[in-house]
Symmetry: C2
Subunit: 157 residues, 2 copies
DNA sequence: TCACATTTTGTATGTTTATTCATGTTAAAA
DNA sequence: TTTTAACATGAATAAACATACAAAATGTGA
């Protein structure tokens, strides 16, 4: 194992074990384990590991590892499938109709299912049309906002 | 509604709707809605809203709202309950024994249940002792690391 | 209304994180 | 082996974000 790989491993462990709040602090932890790098490298490492920084619910922030890679990658895949097939969307109460490219309804609907959005109760797909049943009282605006936040490249309206 | 409250609302909406990657970008979004503030204020607003910054799974980072406040606060409560009662921990295979202050076993165990850690299959509490059944193949080290990452103030070993 | 406290904000500046650029290192190709 | 390309790193620096402090805005009790 080369030094970079070892360092990345250490970083993961340290981040999962402590509430690390800055790269400087992480640097200190690594130093204690005789790993010596500069802040610049840590910045690159954290990006590589896709480490995020979230609130401790109190007044500070700490680094977090992303949900595991598999899960992440498949999410990306679903998003891609939806963006690929999606054409337009319309609503009637809690029912939502999505039109897709011919033959894409199934892939889009199944991707939508797999995303397990709270807002979606279920889907039925034809060939180029999907019926999405939404949670009661959810407005079309809210659902569109959620979709957009997950799939920024979606062009709605 | 005063201007600050309105602004916070706008920020939440914008962040949930777009992949905002910097305060400068957020500033631009707000400007389009005729909300005029400085970066300094946004920094404070984001901290107030406990907004985090996470990987887009690709190569960038964007702001995210925290899980809803209720959930967050109750999590903090559980953590507090555990830290309050916890004394020490020991292991035998996938079984873990936690000793707590007299009478605290129940509150600690129920808090532990409520945290819904993947690692924990179930708990049984007496008066000052809890039996925690862990997922198979989980090492005591791993479990302790998880606990510490959730409850940094815990002093183990 | 005034006087006073509290909150919110901008400016200036400090701190933290990301990037550029030069250099070293490793791995593959010839 | 030498050459070349890709990658990894540190130093310096730029960009992004946070904060101290003063001023402005807002609230509160008389």
């Amino acid at each position: 194992m080369n030094s970079r790989t070892a360092r990345l491993k250490s970083i993961k462990r340290i981040i999962s074990e402590y509430h690390v709040t800055s790269q400087e602090q992480l640097l200190a932890f690594l130093k204690k384990e005789n790993v010596s790098v500069t802040q610049a490298t840590l910045s690159r490492d954290l990006k590589l590991l896709k480490v995020g920084k979230v609130s401790d619910g109190n007044n500070g922030y700490y680094y977090t590892l992303p949900r595991n890679r598999k899960e992440m990658e498949s999410t990306q895949q679903y998003i891609h499938d939806i963006a690929r097939g999606f054409l337009c969307i319309s609503f009637s109460g809690s029912l939502c109709i999505m039109k897709t490219l011919a033959g894409h309804a199934n892939s889009v609907a199944s991707a939508l299912d797999n995303l397990e959005m709270d807002e979606v109760l279920g889907t039925i797909a034809g060939d180029d049309t999907i019926l999405v049943v939404l949670k009661e009282n959810l407005t079309s605006k809210q659902f569109i906002a959620s979709l957009k936040s997950i799939i920024p490249e979606l062009e709605i309206e």
